[in-house]
Amino acid sequence: MHKLLTDAPGKAMLLLGNEAIARGALEAGVSFTTCYPGTPSSEIPQQFFEISKETELFFEYSTNEKVAMEVGGAAAVSGLRTMVTLKLVGLNVAADPFMTLAYVGVKGGMVIVNADDPSMFSSQNEQDNRYFARLAGVPLLEPTNAQEMKDFTVSAFDLSEELQLPVLLRTTTRLNHITSAVVLGKLKPVKTKVVFEKNPSQFVTMPANARRMHGVLLEKYERAQDLAATSPLNQIIGDGRWGIVANGVSFDYVKDAVSDLGIWDQVSILKLGFSWPPPDALYLKFMSQVDKLLVVEELEPLNERELQALAQRNGISIPIQGKGVGNLSRHLEYNPGMVRQAIAEFLGVPCHLPKIPDLSRLPDLPGRPPNLCPGCPHRASFYAVKEVYGEDTIYPSDIGCYTLGIAPPFNMADFCICMGASVTGSCGFSRCTDQKVVGFIGDSTFFHSGITGLIDGVYNNHKFTLVILDNGTTAMTGYQIHPGVDARPLGVDRTQVSIEAIVRGCGVKDVHVIQPFKVKKAIEAIKAAKEYDGISVIISKEMCALFGKATHQIKKVRPFYINHDKCKNHRVCVQKLACPAMYLDGDHVEINSDLCTGCMVCAQICPENAIMPLKG
């Protein structure tokens, strides 16, 4: 049995924040779950995927976030409790249905979990998605620890049903990947099916209906604002004359800082868990009982501006500050020391800085950037394409492990902004320059948003080569299934969709399917694609080494070694492949047999044939 199905109310269990959200959804009786995986939220759907094999819970990995929002939206409109999980930029993709779902409203509770990523540990920007609650006019809940990630999820479902409005549950990376004890509540049974009750005047947003439903949304906003002002999710802690307002993980930093500084008797904290619509009545009460106010929030100064505007409207003149105090800025995540220092500076209390050792005279330390794994088929694909297309070609790339093609020796990521832009970027570059263009996109990303771009390329007669890196899984986010894979090894029944058939169906005439570990043949196919006058697609098919090993689809193969009788130390292997299984021992290249997966790519490019399989 999955551990999140443990039926033991009151038991404390060590849970990852994302696991706590999944458990909260189960305690709220969630019956319909969808997502496109994205770090830092990926572990939520991973739980649902496993749990759906054991229970009546419906779960799907949707082809992209917009699809996930619409599939989930239909269930919520019909009356099922529904959860959609996204990373920050995922909500950009799903923004279209999200905005108008707020107009039509929902019948079953609909919770949209949105994981922001201050400091961009695994994202291409650090947008503050609290803006999305404002943009759509939906309530925003923000937990501050693992326990609240579970509890607020339950509250979010209740709130959503009460207002008949989707609710945004917003986390940040630090909370998604926090682990601590969570006290379990009761599990609720799953409602599997409902009857959809037609009501076109509500659900069909023709202008006349949309005009009316916008009015309905604004009325719900008023009610939500009253609920926020009295919600137990917002709390005033302490009764000192120095006020601090904090949300999310910042609240934890504030709480620890006030303890460390020993100023609990002088401080009161407004802990914001239900921060949009703004709880004006509560804000006014809080401002009336403090002499000055510090707002601690990561990224944009949204609560700060809200409080300042409210104070101005009500003739309140206490100082209200946030960004710019100490090192509090709009850029990157906060940390406990930074928040402690800012509070001390704002309140004028002493704060001891830790004595950090002098690190100015350390020896030069070689970098350790992330890298493609040993046996990664992308490395072989990059090598083969580079041999044919060289340095001067423009290489638009996409979101996935293969973005790491940016690293030397390949340097094969010249443009990468969002899912699918490798294809559409290739369309643009091939028109605005006379340079050769080769785009790289992963299999899951191709399904997510590569297909429309490919059709654009065919239809508008653009000329470039697209390499679809088909490694049989959504590798970067933790090996999720996607439409192109055989899902049976993961214990579920899905219909596999052929990438090659889609590519041909889009009208591409020049299609090559290669196995990148067969280096010579791969290079021949890429040369043919380069000669073609139009759009060529190369489908480079080889399973992700880690995924294959984890699912026993790749049997242990024989690792290779370097025969030093033959090796003339050209170092073509390390210089051209930079495989992490290779290292320098004094002056010679060696292969770490624990790391080598036996992909044989290095053996095929060694000019002396000095790389050989280990015997035994």
Partner: protein, 195 residues
């Protein structure tokens, strides 16, 4: 309750996250409040993986610069690189066996001598516990049990309020049978290395 802030630095694949999780399980069973944080994602692809384990009366899931009480490094270069988390009073426990990054093999930088790394640690921190944990893991019968060796050393250093049996119970409860014996042996060897 006293707060203990532990930072664990490792290279992707060395088992950092499991070791912080086991500390959490041991703390939970003993009734010590515990917050763990970790960074997933890109860092897994051969990069640096950092986790933090905070025990006691604390809410923040991360450790700021200069605030680690204990600093556990699974790889010597990364121990030195991460030293900003420490002060002179931090207890530093490090594996001495290098795992050179691929940048060294392609000629972008050289890996410092291990003695130079240790010298740099010792001039900046009063208590540095250093030993070849990778060799101990191999001795225990499983090269992948380095994380257990390091956990053993952490407990052996008596720097945190958790005892041998509490962590061993957590290991017993979460290890596949085939690895249990080697994991416990690795833990013992790590403990012995600091005593």
């Amino acid at each position: 309750m006293e707060t203990t802030r532990i930072v664990i630095i490792a290279v992707g694949g060395q088992g950092n996250l499991l070791s912080s999780r086991l500390l959490g399980e041991a703390a939970l069973s003993k009734g010590i409040p515990c917050v763990i944080s970790e960074i997933h994602g890109m860092a897994q692809r051969g990069g640096i993986v950092e986790s933090a384990v905070l025990l006691g009366d604390v809410s923040s899931p991360i450790v700021s610069v200069g605030e680690a009480d204990v600093f556990l490094g699974f790889e010597p270069l990364e121990t030195l690189r991460g030293l900003g988390k420490c002060t002179r009073d931090t207890i530093v426990i490090t594996n001495t066996r290098p795992l050179p990054p691929f940048t060294v093999a392609v000629g972008q930088g050289t890996y410092p001598l291990v003695d130079v790394i240790l010298e740099n640690l010792r001039t900046r921190v009063d208590r540095v516990i250093a030993f070849d944990g990778t060799a101990l893991a191999a001795e225990a019968g499983n090269p992948l049990s380095l994380n257990m060796v390091m956990l053993g050393a952490l407990i052996g250093s008596e720097a945190i309020p958790l005892k041998e049996e509490e962590v061993k119970d957590a290991i017993r409860n979460s290890t596949k049978k085939v690895f249990l014996e080697s994991n416990l042996k690795a833990f013992d060897l790590g403990m012995a290395a600091v005593q």
